[in-house]
């Protein structure tokens, strides 16, 4: 597992050196398209990166209507790579959700709300593309996932912010629950760097819904118990519980069959 980890970091370095060539044009489902493109690309060739930008733009046209694998089953994989794929899946979901929410603002969205949702969208896209860059060269990256937002009414403030609240709280619990499964110290720190930003999002969204109340860190969510008592602890939820909870947002079926998730 450790050697896996080192390999991922090495691969990340290699991939990131090419970032100028493949990290553009990714706001609108770009992650999914780029995933396909990058997988093909890395399988075919490790060089001639300068042509990739053109290739990506061409591919975007070709695949504009294909957001991911519909109805397919995707397993997250083993070890630290599996955990990173798990995070990548959740970040794909969040990035796509906020991209939609910003593209189709609900009626009466204030300037402040638009700024906040745009900021969060950008953070989630950065997280998604970061994981994509880290995972792509391993050959073990999950593909772009088909998403299902049919439960969300993007014209409704309550629906959008209510969904955002659930996604952020879930993200916090998911990262907290995955921490002890990670074996590579650098990945644990990376997860820590991201989870506190997700917690900031969760608090900000909750405060939009119920300003200046206890909701930002409410007793309904900072409610993890130790022997039946509350100690000001956020939730830490294992992947096996998170995945069924978020599955309705995915048309792709996600499985976590490897031993790291058991």
């Amino acid at each position: 597992m450790l050697s896996d980890g080192r390999r991922v970091l090495n691969n990340l370095f290699t991939a990131m050196n090419k970032k100028n060539n493949f990290m553009t044009n990714s706001d609108l489902r770009g992650g999914q398209m780029l995933t396909r493109v990058n997988r093909r690309y890395f399988l075919r060739s490790a060089g001639v990166a300068t042509t990739l930008g053109v290739f990506v733009l061409g591919a975007c046209k070709d695949h504009d209507i294909v957001p991911g694998i519909d109805g397919a089953t995707v397993d997250l994989g083993e070890g630290d790579v599996g955990i990173l794929n798990y995070a990548y899946a959740l970040e794909q979901l969040e990035a796509a959700f906020y991209t939609e929410a910003v593209a189709k603002p609900y009626a009466g969205m204030t300037d402040m709300e638009m700024r906040m949702l745009t900021d969060i969208r950008d953070h989630e896209i950065i997280h998604r593309d970061f994981f994509q860059a880290a995972l792509t060269p391993t050959g073990m990256i999950i593909p772009g996932l088909a998403l299902d937002f049919s439960s969300v009414d993007f014209s409704s403030r309550a629906s959008v912010l209510g969904t955002a609240k659930v996604l952020e709280d879930t993200g916090v619990a998911a990262y907290n629950g995955a921490g002890k499964l990670i074996t590579t110290p650098d990945y644990l720190v990376l997860a820590g760097k991201i989870v506190s930003v997700e917690a900031r999002h969760a608090a900000a969204i909750r405060d939009l819904l119920m300003p200046n109340t206890t909701s930002f860190a409410g007793d309904d969510i900072v409610d993890a118990q130790v022997n039946g008592m509350m100690f000001g602890l956020d939730r830490a939820t294992p992947p096996k519980q998170i995945l069924p909870a978020v599955q309705p947002f995915f048309k792709t079926t996600l499985t976590a069959n490897a031993s790291v998730f058991q």
């Binding site: 990340l12 990131m16 050196n17 970032k19 100028n20 990290m23 553009t24 706001d27 700024r115 906040m116 900021d119 950008d122 953070h123 896209i125 950065i126 997280h127 998604r128 593309d129 970061f130 860059a133 990262y175 907290n176 629950g177 921490g179 002890k180 110290p185 650098d186 644990l188 720190v189 990376l190 820590g192 760097k193 991201i194 989870v195 506190s196 930003v197 917690a199 900031r200 999002h201 608090a203 900000a204 405060d207 200046n212 109340t213 206890t214 930002f216 860190a217 409410g218 900072v222 130790v226 022997n227 039946g228 008592m229 509350m230 100690f231 000001g232 602890l233 956020d234 939730r235 830490a236």
Partner: protein
């Protein structure tokens, strides 16, 4: 484990727990059969969880002591602020009462974990030797120090996660992460309130570049190197957004340098 001290702590923290404790205690006095019930329903059970923790690594114990010292600082600060008449406007009282409640809970939790190894609570000077004279005098001064303490706390816990990776420390790692994200929730709302009362919308719930004061609290937050690689420009996003998307660690030494002026 000083059970009487623990009970005192729990009293301050959780009235419902106190009820359970008293219920269980009555049961145990009235019936010899109550002993097991008490163990299952009261903080004693928490202590027993951590008694196994004498198998925790020495490094993990040091992390707990470090965390408890920071939680003492925060807890005493909110106790003082929340108790001071006229300091916090009514509209913001629920926020700071909630933060204060959590910090008291974190103190009780860490004291329970450490038992006799818990460090003594220091005496604090929230003016930092006079450099922040308004910390408990004006709401602005109070919120300013609140956001600085919370952002420091987030970075401090994050910086220690790597010291809790031994197999026997994994439960502690998870608890530490669970506190860490609560501190981040606190930080976000304290920052929002600071931005609101100062009419400074650029103070967001998240940290942009290394902007903020005191400078030492935000030093290095403008880092764009993640996983050993500079991701500035990723996804075509601004450096501001890239730095907001990742919070950074602080070393124990850097945290002590920030905190030391607040020790009386």
């Amino acid at each position: 484990m000083n059970i009487f001290k623990l009970i005192e702590d729990i009293k301050q923290v959780d009235a419902e727990a106190l009820d359970r404790l008293e219920f269980a205690s009555r049961r145990s006095f009235m019936s010899s059969l109550g002993t097991k019930l008490m163990a299952a329903a009261t903080p004693v059970a928490l202590a027993s969880v951590f008694n196994k923790a004498f198998a925790f690594t020495p490094g993990a114990i040091e992390v707990l002591k470090f965390a408890l010292t920071l939680e003492y600082l925060e807890d005493e600060f909110y106790k003082a602020g929340n108790a001071k008449a006229g300091l916090i406007p009514d509209m913001y009282k629920p926020v700071f009462a909630q933060i204060g409640k959590h910090e008291s809970q974190h103190v009780a939790f860490l004291e329970s974990a450490l038992g006799a190894a818990a460090p003594a609570k220091p005496n604090f000077d929230f003016t930092a030797k006079g450099t922040l004279p308004d910390s408990l005098n004006t709401f602005d001064g109070f919120v300013f120090l609140s956001h600085a303490f919370e952002d420091t706390g987030v970075r401090a816990y994050k910086g220690q996660a790597g010291n809790l990776m031994a197999a026997e420390d994994k439960p502690l790692l998870e608890y530490a992460l669970q506190i860490h994200s609560v501190e981040a929730r606190h930080a976000a709302v304290a920052r929002k309130i600071l931005g609101t009362i100062r009419n400074r919308p650029e103070i967001k719930p998240w940290i942009t570049l290394n902007e903020g004061s005191p400078a030492a609290v935000y030093a290095g937050e403008d880092n764009t190197v993640q996983g050993g690689v500079d991701i500035n420009g990723i996804a075509g996003k601004s450096k501001e957004a890239v730095t907001e998307a990742f919070d950074e660690i602080l070393t124990k030494e850097a945290v002590f340098a920030i905190v030391t002026p607040f020790l009386a």
